[in-house]
């Protein structure tokens, strides 16, 4: 099953991929920005500050997606004793952390004119802050521990604790009274966001996903080169 996970074979693909993803990202991001900042309408209630949402919501989605991926990868790495999964998880984490911080900062910037406060200790915002701490722990563990086996164990434990927080983030707005509004986009029922505002949201999400992929590939390639330099044939 994992015979394709030979580092030099992976490297052949991953070293070329950024060349194609970079221009794609630039195009999608430019369209997204024009759509979000110029073409999309202002909101009936919050007027232009709605535009912060086109950064805030995609960033939040991506960071949750990346943390879930990291957890699945770490757990699979542990179950199947495959080191490559851990390396992929490690390379994904930095962009997850960056988007987590972006989501918190843009939320704060939006909160001041809308709610009247920069920060509130409500369930959604607090659980999002806890996610930052889990990302930091995950990344620090890679820095602190020299022994690979030890790193794999510790990061797996961090993700298994952290993943409990992800559904809490998602459903905090439904389970408890929060200052943060409930989700506007529902897959099963009708969304409470107008289609003209949904379009930039989707394009920006695609742009952020491409950006994460780009950063991931750069990080991952570095890891692969490190392994190559050690003269190891396999991970």
């Amino acid at each position: 099953m994992f015979k394709f996970l030979n580092p030099s074979r992976i490297y052949l693909i991953t070293s070329k991929a950024p060349k194609y993803i970079m221009p794609l990202f630039i195009v999608v991001f430019s369209i997204g920005l024009v759509e979000a900042l110029i073409l999309s309408p202002e909101d009936y209630k919050q007027s232009h500050s709605v535009r912060i949402m086109y950064v805030h919501v995609p960033a939040a989605w991506i960071t949750l997606g990346i943390f879930s991926s990291i957890t699945i990868l770490s757990l699979s790495g542990y179950i199947f004793k495959n080191k490559n999964f851990f390396i992929i998880a490690k390379s994904l984490a930095p962009s997850g952390l960056v988007f987590n911080i972006i989501a918190l900062v843009t939320g704060s910037i939006w909160g001041k004119p809308t709610w009247g406060t920069w920060w509130a200790w409500d369930a959604r915002i607090t659980s999002m802050l806890i996610l930052v701490l889990f990302y930091l722990m995950f990344l620090l563990a890679w820095r602190i521990y020299e022994d690979k086996e030890e790193v794999f164990k510790i990061t797996t434990i961090i993700t298994i604790f952290g993943i409990i927080n992800v559904p809490i983030i998602k459903y905090s707005v439904d389970w408890w009274n929060t200052l943060h509004q409930p989700a506007s986009i529902n897959i099963l029922s009708k969304s409470s966001i107008h289609s003209s505002m949904l379009l930039p949201l989707i394009i920006m999400t695609a742009a952020f996903a491409l950006f994460s992929l780009l950063i991931f590939l750069m990080k991952y390639n570095t890891e692969l080169i490190k392994i190559k330099n050690k003269g190891l044939d396999r991970l």
């Binding site: 202002e42 209630k45 004793k81 809308t114 369930a123 509004q181």
Partner: protein, 139 residues
């Protein structure tokens, strides 16, 4: 297929996850009182005893209830079952208006009167351009 060890590790992970989910669920259930950001007027009605502690009350600003005087603002927070009179002096957020969500922070004087020290506007999940809103209101 996979070896015995792989299977054991898989079930071990599932077991750890279930244990963690259950314990976190129980902890959050026990702490619910503190996890909620605000209480509704109905919660206040059924509150055991009134403590002189800072709390938050949230709900809708009742239609035609805002009264402004020189240095005081009075309005009613409702959850469409129960209501609370709120008194406040200070600046309010731009989005504070009748029929919209609000969270007031302050002290309960009695079960129907609240002295607020801070007002936050709560935004709902509806996003639409002004034209669409106008069209909706016409219908």
């Amino acid at each position: 297929m996979y070896g015995r060890k792989v299977k054991f590790r898989f079930f071990f992970v599932i077991l750890v996850l279930l244990t963690l989910i259950l314990s976190v669920f129980l902890v959050l259930k026990a702490l619910e009182e503190n996890v909620v950001f605000f209480k509704s007027p109905s919660d206040v009605k059924f509150l055991g005893e009134l403590k002189n502690k800072k709390i938050r009350i949230g709900g809708m600003v009742k239609q035609d209830s805002i009264e402004m005087s020189a240095n005081e603002l009075n309005f009613i927070i409702t959850d469409f079952k129960n209501e609370i009179n709120v008194s406040y002096s200070g600046v309010v957020p731009n989005l504070f208006s009748e029929g919209k969500g609000v969270v007031a922070e302050g002290y309960l004087k009695d079960r129907s009167f609240f002295q607020a020290s801070k007002i936050l506007a709560k935004h709902d999940e509806n996003y639409m351009p002004p034209e669409v809103k106008a069209a909706l209101e016409e219908n």
